[in-house]
């Protein structure tokens, strides 16, 4: 089975998300043993597409399927993939924090970060590696965004909280982080995705809640219902993040897990119940963060 990635996607936030859901429906319906993602006609690829293709690829490979990528001499895509380290992500293994910062310095002049597949284990080695990787990514973002203060803090906070969710809850082998900054459009698209057990299963396994559907599970998560024993005030990190991004920064927040998705902007928030065949087993978060100096935004108003 072959999936052709379109030439380009428009600025529309929902267009790549619609594309992802449509392709997942096809993959779920056909259940192919071999899958090829064909980028030979692609020019501009949304970070949401990149993140979700990596997650789906890793998920299918774990199930014994064969997944490959076709570029057919498309030098634009070949060069881009090389620079972002697609599909395996930047190799951070064995690098100290200082070495990471030095090696990643070149990305400070670009408008994207390298593809990051971060470890999710709770042991000391993986926790330290994860912390060092995220610290290095924050350094890149600071150089790229050329911002100080509250908005930069917010970007750090969002990436930290939402990647921690994956480590804490998803049981995913790796978490995936990818981001693209659009300086002329003054926003950044961030994709944080895992191929773990999904939000509903996380609640069921915790024994702390028993959501009967994926939409109910997403509602629990966005309202901050905790899966943890010790604290009722800690949730998924999703509840604070979504308010910060939508109410504080006037951005867009999208989350997709199982057969449900949630969307919020400064005007509205909605849960959409999806057809069974649109099931995504892990959890995908897509953010559009306006990157503009905003003296009205108070970072601390949105942290718990």
């Amino acid at each position: 089975m072959e999936i052709k990635i379109p030439n380009r996607f428009s600025d529309n936030f929902g267009e790549p998300l619609n594309y992802i859901i449509k392709q997942l429906i096809i993959i779920n319906q056909e259940n192919p043993t071999k899958l090829i993602f064909d980028f030979s006609g692609s020019k501009f690829i949304s970070p949401f597409i990149i993140g979700s293709i990596i997650a789906v690829t890793n998920h299918l490979r774990r199930k014994g399927k064969t997944v490959s990528f076709k570029v057919d001499g498309n030098s634009n895509v070949t060069n881009y993939f090389e620079t972002i380290c697609f599909p395996n992500g930047y190799n951070f293994e064995g690098l100290s924090s200082a070495e990471m910062n030095a090696k990643l310095e070149e990305y400070g002049l670009k408008t994207f970060i390298p593809l990051v597949l971060f470890p999710t284990g709770a042991n000391q080695a993986e926790s330290t590696l994860r912390e060092n990787v995220l610290s290095a990514i924050n350094s890149i973002l600071k150089k790229q965004l050329k911002l100080e203060g509250s908005i930069l803090e917010a970007v750090y906070y969002l990436i930290d909280e939402l990647t921690n969710n994956i480590s804490d809850h998803s049981s995913s082998e790796k978490g995936i982080l990818f981001a693209q900054f659009y300086p002329t459009k003054n926003y950044m698209d961030i994709c944080i995705i895992d191929y773990g057990k999904g939000i509903r299963q996380t609640y069921l396994d915790s024994g702390k809640a028993n959501p009967s559907t994926d939409e109910e599970a997403i509602e629990f998560a966005i309202k901050g219902k905790s899966t943890k024993d010790q604290s009722i005030s800690r949730g998924f990190g999703i509840s604070t993040s979504r308010n910060m991004i939508t109410d504080g920064l006037k951005g867009k927040f999208f989350i997709y897990s199982g057969n449900a998705l949630f969307y919020q902007n400064s005007e509205k928030q909605e849960i959409i119940s999806l057809p069974q065949e649109a099931n995504y087993q892990g959890c995908m978060i897509a953010l559009r963060v306006p990157i503009l100096p905003n003296s009205q935004f108070n970072f601390y108003k949105y942290t718990q």
Binding site: K22, K252, Y263, E270, I271, S273, P275
Partner: protein
């Protein structure tokens, strides 16, 4: 889990639902004791603020009283927006609980329209 019954909110093409009574009539015809419901807004082009307000109040009340679930499916962007507007004008305590509407689309085209609108 209760079985789910699908109800077409309007049989007419491009229907406009404007009165509180229309919303009440819709819910009066449903038996909540033995099933959940999917209310299909496929043919509805517009709902008034009054209709939306009554719809929202009754849906909320009946879901609580009968421990039932009422899903809204195939609503247009305009219908969704009006329901959203009235949800913000309900009583303060409920607003504090931040009720989040759930929508469903039975056609992929409608889901795509929604995603392109966000």
């Amino acid at each position: 889990m209760k079985p789910t019954k699908k109800i077409l909110v309007s049989n007419k093409e491009k229907n406009f639902l404007v009165s509180r009574e229309a919303a009440s009539t819709l819910f009066n015809e449903l038996n909540f004791s033995d099933s959940d419901f999917e209310l299909d807004f496929s043919n509805v082009e517009f709902i008034s603020r009054s209709y939306a307000d009554q719809f929202y109040k009754l849906k909320d009340d009946l879901e609580k009283r009968f421990n039932t679930k009422i899903h809204i499916i195939n609503a247009s962007e305009e219908v969704i927006n009006m329901l959203h507007v009235v949800s913000k004008t309900q009583n303060l305590n409920e607003r504090n609980f931040e009720k989040i509407p759930v929508y469903r689309f039975s056609k992929m085209d409608n889901l795509s329209d929604y995603l392109f609108s966000i």
